[in-house]
Symmetry: C2
Subunit: 304 residues, 2 copies
């Protein structure tokens, strides 16, 4: 499970401060999370294989999270993509995309499916045999969701050599991995625990941008392996009022959420352009939580 940061700054893009976009590699999926202006250029720079992106998750329709979407979608078309694409985003994302496609006279070479969200409760929005994705209802100026990505508990890990030594027929190996006892060729009852180990604990990633300080999200991100939480402002710069008014958080807020949620690690992002030194964000959050890092464009984090 690996996260790549393509952009982690708020508001207007600059040549050294790109708006929100991330790629999450999880159980064979390559999920794109938010799509600020210029995301397709960043995807190329970081050599992400475009065609592997089959799901895009859009937190909300503010420009710094979505103004790169149409460029990416039409580029997929220019590359003659055939595989369908699913867009998970707020109610309105379909109109946002289709109005622009219609007015530009564009026809895509592939199908776009829209999973338009409008619930104020957490919803399961994607699931397969290895992964599920749930929304995290956030508090922002417009309807906004974070996303919680979690692996499912895998099968138990079989000790093949031991199974062979015990003369277990290989047709029973899957049963053992699925916590079922079997009988060996010698007629012995074999407890699955004797030849298998516990599966790796499932890992999770929680993406929370943009939001006011909101302890209501804690049950949805509890004990997450990596929490990305926005910290547009600094409490230490006396900007809590500004955060409150604009529907954003400070680094201290992010640290408090990480602590209460017992997250394993906190990653800060969505920095206002008014601050030049990003270490100040880390220092502020560290007052209440560790470990903390600040995101930067091109950053890759292994989640485990």
């Amino acid at each position: 499970m690996q996260l790549t940061i393509l952009g982690c700054h708020s508001a207007s893009p600059k040549s050294n401060a790109h708006p929100t976009a991330q790629v999450l590699e999880i159980k064979g999926h390559l999920f794109l999370i938010d799509c600020g202006e210029g995301t397709q250029v960043r995807l190329r720079q970081h050599k992400v294989k475009f065609s592997r992106i089959k799901h895009i998750f859009i937190s909300h329709l503010h420009g710094d999270h979505v103004f790169g979407l149409l460029g990416l979608i039409t580029t997929f078309g220019l590359l003659n993509r055939k595989e369908s694409l699913t867009l998970h985003g707020p109610l309105g994302v379909k109109e946002f995309v289709e109005t622009q496609l219609r007015l530009s006279g564009s026809y895509l070479s592939y199908q776009v499916y829209y999973n338009e969200l409008s619930s104020s409760d957490s919803e399961l929005i994607f699931e397969d045999e290895g992964v599920y994705v749930k929304t995290i209802p956030l508090k922002h100026r417009i309807y906004t969701n974070g996303f919680h990505f979690e692996e499912k508990l895998g099968e138990r890990k079989l000790n093949y050599q031991k199974a062979v030594d015990l003369e277990i027929n290989p047709v029973y190996f899957n049963k053992l991995k699925q916590s079922k006892n079997v009988v060996s060729e010698r007629g012995e009852e074999i407890n699955y625990k004797d030849v298998t180990e516990d599966p790796d604990p499932p890992k999770s990633y929680s993406f929370c941008s943009d939001t006011s300080y909101s302890p209501e999200i804690i049950p949805h991100i509890y004990k997450t392996n990596l929490l990305y939480h926005e910290s547009t402002f600094l409490s230490s710069a006396s900007h809590e009022d500004l955060a409150y008014k604009t529907g954003h958080s400070t680094a201290l807020h992010a640290g408090l959420i990480a602590r209460k949620a017992k997250a394993k690690k906190l990653l800060l992002g969505h920095f206002s352009a008014r601050y030049k030194n990003l270490d100040a964000f880390v220092n502020e959050a560290q007052e209440v939580f560790e470990p903390v890092e600040h995101a930067h464009t091109g950053m890759q984090i292994d989640i485990n």
Copy 2:
């Protein structure tokens, strides 16, 4: 009169190939022409003062000419712009902009006026005491206009010393500049030609992107000082068919148009990503017209 190229490549943006956007400085105006994805970043990089842009001219609604528009418009808002902005573009540009503003819950701090175009004839779309702008109807897959920017003929240039020597009362200086004879303090009739010189000849710039080979545009760009003409493809690479099918031109087409229009200079742009060597475009156009240059990001050209 100075042109700055912010992007001159077709289709998808890459880190070294930006889509169409240009800034034209003319008689105190700063006109933005087309606005591909990432234009606001290029404007910052080339230190263009955002607030001076009061008119944006959009040739057509294909993404590589317009996907940077909403980012720029909302950034103007974040900068708390107060002065109005006029968007000249195809019918639909208002819906394009306002749908995205509405869905993103954005409110701008300034007024946007829309000059929506739908005529297939050339129209006068902007005029003041120093400049006029006319559309150049182009042939593309969707409704598209080029733009012809032309200075108005200025006043005659007064030789102040000579006027003083001839004892002409300064209250008559403006009359002389306006080609009117006056009477000096000595009672002599003074012919305006004796104390004034012809004004500088008005300069013009013609922007033609995207278009098939279209000699119909020649009357609208006749004797222009600088012709920017798209050359997406190369005839020498046997891509005339491709140009025809996609509503584009080759460098040879651009050269022929420049020759027939008796342009003073040709600037090529809107290159397909399939070609690595842009000199090939110049070489091809030079077979029929000189002087020719190919555009590149950051290029600045004085038009005179």
